[in-house]
């Protein structure tokens, strides 16, 4: 049953050094505030899972909090490469991270299998692709009816998943709208889950088939308006494209990066996110 608490409490209670953690979001609703709180609490040795690690994973990697990355596309969307990730992989700064790389189809299926309580996912994939040669977690399974050989990926089962959502009601039921990504699956696949939300309301006023996580399927809920910045929250504020573009320059230099992280993350608080999205609020 979801407990309402501060983000600081939720991270302290649900994320430990050494955990496998997913901070999921597919361009939309990326849980930046949660990841920043994890950095402030000095969490280390994380195995991070995400289909599309972007700026916020670049930050976690650059700050040395990450031991291993399981992913399918690591880029600053529409801008370019992730410079902190590159520095780690190419130069071992601040340390080398281990890489487990899949395709989107494999990751999406693996989250789905995790949510479904299955040990693996079968899909038609990786045909002729070379990832299967460098990732021992890409195997195959044979259809017992047709004999077709399909690709197999192990289910993703994070210790904890962090997501950001539009709103929760007072019973802890969570509504996710718009580009819903793999967030529902990532929460259901995890042992524990922390959801930051834009607002807490009396009634979700949700469509009957909307993407809703019942409160009893969530561990902790934290009110953090703006907590997805610089990504966006459909119906609340738009994507801060300028920040994504700016990140490319910030991340290009180690010292610039460290100084920026001190000012904007280590010395900041979850409450600061509300200010960052004021100029991006939707007319609606």
């Amino acid at each position: 049953m979801a407990q309402f608490m501060t983000l600081s409490e939720a991270v302290a209670q649900n994320l430990n050094s050494g955990d496998t953690a997913a901070f999921e979001g597919f361009t939309h609703l990326i849980p930046h505030a949660s990841a920043h709180e994890a950095l402030r609490q000095g969490i280390k040795d994380l195995t991070l899972v995400r289909m599309t690690p972007d700026v916020v994973y670049d930050q976690l990697i650059g700050m040395g909090a990450v031991k291993k990355l399981i992913f399918s596309y690591a880029g600053n969307p529409g801008v370019g490469l992730l410079r902190r990730l590159r520095d780690s992989v190419e130069n071992g700064w601040p340390h080398a991270i281990e890489i487990e790389e899949h395709s989107h189809a494999a990751m999406a299926n693996a989250y789905e299998a995790g949510a479904a309580g299955l040990p693996f996912a079968a899909f038609r994939g990786y045909k002729g692709a070379e990832l299967a040669k460098v990732n021992p977690n890409i195997r195959s399974v044979t259809c017992p009816f047709t004999g077709e050989e399909l690709a197999a990926a192990p289910a993703i089962r994070p210790d904890v998943t962090f997501i950001h959502a539009q709103k929760a009601d007072r019973k802890g039921n969570v509504l996710i709208e718009g580009i819903v990504g793999v967030q529902k699956e990532a929460v259901l696949a995890a042992k524990r889950s922390v959801v930051t939300v834009e607002e807490i309301v009396d009634d979700l006023h949700a469509h009957p088939n909307a993407c809703v996580l019942p409160g009893w399927a969530v561990t902790a809920i934290c009110l953090v308006p703006g907590g997805a910045h610089p990504s966006y929250a459909h119906g609340y504020y738009s994507r801060d494209n300028a920040s994504y573009i700016a990140w490319d320059k910030i991340a290009a230099d180690r010292d610039t990066f460290l100084a920026w992280m001190k000012d904007n993350v280590l010395d900041a608080r979850p409450e600061d996110f509300a200010d960052r999205i004021k100029h991006l609020r939707s007319a609606a």
Partner: protein
């Protein structure tokens, strides 16, 4: 605006856009493919179905998305599904007629690398990785590719097979049990390429106005094959050009909105 007053990038986008039919269901890669697909939709193919891997089906953005999951894509979509559903029901389900991809590195058989430059374990450059491409390449009815030519991008041998085109050529796809056509078209800033019916090597079938064989070869890392009947790509029409420029202007205005972030 004169018909000859266009850049090679504009020519590339417009030539690529012409390949999409009104009845196509197109899985859109980000970047150059996104512009081409939306120009198709805004010109000759108003009912083309555009799908982005973020789950948006039948989307019709007014500006080009910076990411594959901008809010605009959802706002204008017929429906938005979860990412697992996108990859299971819509891509793997065999419902997508065209996958439109870009490429960091490509070879003459349409095999694409967006994973690493250099060795996988000790890369010279760590690229973003495959994302949806490995299964887009095998599940879509056919694959269109668009990229700006350079010897760095068009190489004799790619460093990593992120997604499979025609492999070593010939019937390599069939030998791997892949039933779809694979790359059937490549549009660069200089030319239009199609695979040879037998060898599957990409062959220049049409050069853009003002482009010479030497110019094509100068920006390609393998020895270019030219079709016997080499055509000239029709120049952009006034409508195509104005549609593209209007879209780019709207896009630029939209993406520079918001102050430069204090916290990315």
């Amino acid at each position: 605006m004169s018909d000859t007053d266009f850049t090679s990038n504009e020519m590339m986008t417009i030539a690529a856009s012409r390949a999409l039919k009104n009845t196509d269901v197109c899985f859109v890669g980000i970047g150059a493919p996104s512009a081409a697909c939306n120009i198709a939709r805004l010109t000759h193919a108003p009912d083309v179905t555009l799908i982005y891997e973020s789950g948006t089906i039948g989307t019709a953005p007014q500006v080009l998305p910076l990411s594959i999951g901008d809010g605009e894509l959802c706002d204008t979509a017929v429906t938005t599904v979860s990412v697992p559903e996108m990859f299971r029901y819509w891509l793997q389900g065999g419902r997508v007629t065209v996958g439109f991809l870009g490429a960091a590195q490509i070879d003459r058989f349409g095999n694409i690398n967006t994973t690493v430059i250099g060795d996988y374990d000790q890369p010279k450059t760590r690229l973003p990785g495959g994302g949806g491409a490995p299964e887009i390449a095998s599940s879509c009815g056919e694959i269109f590719i668009t990229l700006k030519q350079s010897k760095r991008a068009m190489v004799d041998k790619i460093d990593f097979y992120t997604s499979f085109g025609h492999g070593e050529g010939g019937d390599h796809r069939q030998r791997l049990g892949i039933a779809t056509k694979g790359p059937t078209l490549m549009v660069t800033d200089l030319a239009v390429w199609k695979p040879d019916p037998v060898t599957r090597e990409f062959t220049v079938v049409s050069m853009h106005p003002g482009v010479t064989r030497e110019m094509v070869q100068a920006e390609c890392g393998w020895t270019v094959r030219f079709a016997d009947k080499l055509e000239e790509t029709p120049a952009p029409t006034g409508i195509e050009l104005s549609t593209l420029r209007d879209l780019n202007a709207r896009t630029k205005a939209a993406h520079s909105g918001g102050k430069t972030g204090e916290a990315a």
